[in-house]
Point group: C2
């Protein structure tokens, strides 16, 4: 039985990195007889340019019909000044997350031993780092209504957004996090701002409630400002962290950067049934697009995650991850992770090396 | 003419650290004939215990009548479970900020050369670090209405808060930030999430608008997730950063922790006229309260900031800062900044040393 994989190259370095991941997927598809059907569609700025909207109907239909989605990255200054806030690349990404109910965002921050020096933190602070951030992805202030810019008396404009979560939304992301903790070191830190924001008082209450179903998991709570501090001070204290959409956006980027090699980190966004969209943690990096400087490994590792979690091909995923580890052992490095004594390679040369290692 | 200084010890380590700062203030008051009248009042958990509310009327009246306020810190687990959200220590702090319109929060993140090793970041990444974070303190999601927990159909509860800023609020904090940049390296980075949140689209627009009045200042914009990353990756790229209440809470704590010595960092919260409340960047640290472990230097440096910005005693402030530098040169360290070869001292011994140096 064939499986449909939708590929969304997106903007900036998206097309380059996705090209390499696609080569890897095509190779393992043949080698391991996976029966994958790969198709591509437009999302983000590329879709705005071609069709006038960031998430064309055809893309949404293809996404719904697919078994899994691999995304490059979206966004860029070209579309940032569009006066219509709905016609921006990010709206395409947010639309697909929301329409497909991909509420469970898993963002690992792992330090690769071969890249230990790449971190700006001292080796003893980050060596062996392995955190999983579970971010709620289809609710919170990203999607809350009402929102907009309105006029008050006197013609003064006021911008407003709504940070909202209901019990069910909190419970379902909580469950993802507790399950993830069960499969790891059984420690879960829930991040909120319950000393100021009522919405996170409810968040904390539901997490406490869920903890009764997972007596083996040690649940702790941390205010978001303290969490940002603790990530810098002693990141290895964390196993799994769970938080809302906005705090998760900030903390997962900070955590990823602790490793110094955000070009290496994949992510998964899953719905209730385990169907998902997979993408690198990094952005579309328009400043280096088209120069062969981008690191395709985060996207290749995202493809591996996709094979494991949504396509039932865990062994193929293992092979890809081993191949990535091998090219690092061969001292091959793209510009972002380059260091003395290593050999700098381009985006496509890195893809070549992974293909060769497979 | 005498000047009234209101001292709010607060909770946890607050009373201990404020005691040392008060000794310093009393000494310089005599030495430099400043005519300061020091009085104390209750705020936070201490006020809840004594009066049942976190911000008693008497405290608010005294605060309004004062020329400047020195605060220790508020909060602790003892009051965290209070079912009435209004009767929590933090509400006292937020109340005083709001009632006195202390909208301009200045949070420097400075690396003391004597404490360079204390950072978890590599020396080359943080040496010479000197960032000023300007945080809006009386608006945004901290104070936005409507807010609370309500029931939806089916009895499902939903928590909600409102992130709101009007043009005037944005403009007045922007002005503080541009002025601060003018007095420094003339580079201002405004942090928002304008690709997702409408309220920060307005924020960005007003910052752009203000930039026309400050042609010498180089204004840039950064999304908050990227800002959190850049603070870890290359913090020295920043001079002044300006952002809203919630993002400022998170980023200023992360920035402070980059120095590794949050026990050294003062902060100021100013109103339109320059009247202000001064407090250490760190919290009430209930876990080490009453053990003589707390570092009083951030509070002593906050007192110096107070003398400079609100009490017209800049030379006295210089003297206090020099005294703090001297005790560091004498290798005296409280537990939080202790390292090999240094001499560990208690909270009061550190106070003694500063007093002796003066
Ligand atoms: C592009 C942007 C809308 C997005 C987000 O904020 O969620 C990105 O930062 C991410 O984390 O995937
Ligand atoms: C105690 C708390 C309400 C406060 C805040 O979030 O503003 C604190 O974290 C701070 O930064 O001063």
């Amino acid at each position: 039985m064939s499986k449909n994989v939708l590929i969304l190259p997106g903007d900036g370095i998206g097309p380059e990195i996705v090209t390499e991941a696609r080569r890897v997927l095509e190779l393992v598809n043949e080698q391991d007889n996976l029966g994958l059907e790969l198709t591509e569609a437009l999302l983000g700025g590329a879709a705005i340019d071609a069709e006038g909207v960031p998430l064309p109907d055809a893309t949404l239909e293809a996404a719904k019909a697919s078994d899994a989605i691999l995304l490059g990255a979206v966004g860029g200054p070209k579309w940032d000044t569009n006066p219509d806030f709905q016609i921006r690349p990010e709206k395409g990404l947010l639309g697909i997350r929301s329409q497909l109910e991909l509420f469970g965002n898993l963002r690992p921050a792992i330090l690769y031993p071969q890249l230990a020096h790449a971190s700006t933190l001292k080796p003893e602070v980050v060596s062996g780092l392995d955190i999983l951030i579970v971010r709620e992805l289809t609710g919170g202030i990203y999607f809350g209504q009402p929102r907009g810019v309105r006029e008050k008396e006197g013609g003064i404009r006021e911008g407003y957004n709504t940070y909202v979560y209901d019990e069910n939304e909190i419970r379902r992301i909580g469950r993802v996090a507790f399950e993830a903790a069960m499969a790891r070191d059984k420690r879960l830190c829930s991040v909120d701002k319950a000393n100021v924001l009522e919405v996170t008082v409810l968040w904390r209450e539901i997490m406490e409630d869920l903890a009764k179903e997972y007596p083996e998991v040690e649940l702790s709570h941390m205010y978001v400002d303290n969490a940002a501090m603790q990530l810098v001070r002693a990141p290895k204290q964390f196993d799994v962290m769970v938080t809302g959409n906005m705090f998760g956006d900030i903390l997962s980027d900070a955590a990823a950067m602790l490793t110094g090699s955000i070009g290496m980190l994949p992510s998964a966004s899953l719905d209730e049934s385990g169907k998902g969209m997979y993408e690198p943690c990094h952005g579309s990096a328009p400043d280096i697009a088209g120069q062969g400087l981008a690191n395709p490994l985060a996207t290749i590792l995202s493809a591996a995650m996709m094979l494991r979690y949504s396509l039932g091909a865990g062994e193929t995923a293992d092979r890809i991850e081993a191949a990535v580890s091998k090219v690092l052992d061969q001292n091959l490095r793209t510009a972002d992770i380059m260091s003395e004594g290593m050999q700098q390679v381009s985006t496509s040369e890195m893809g070549d090396a992974v293909v060769a290692a497979l």
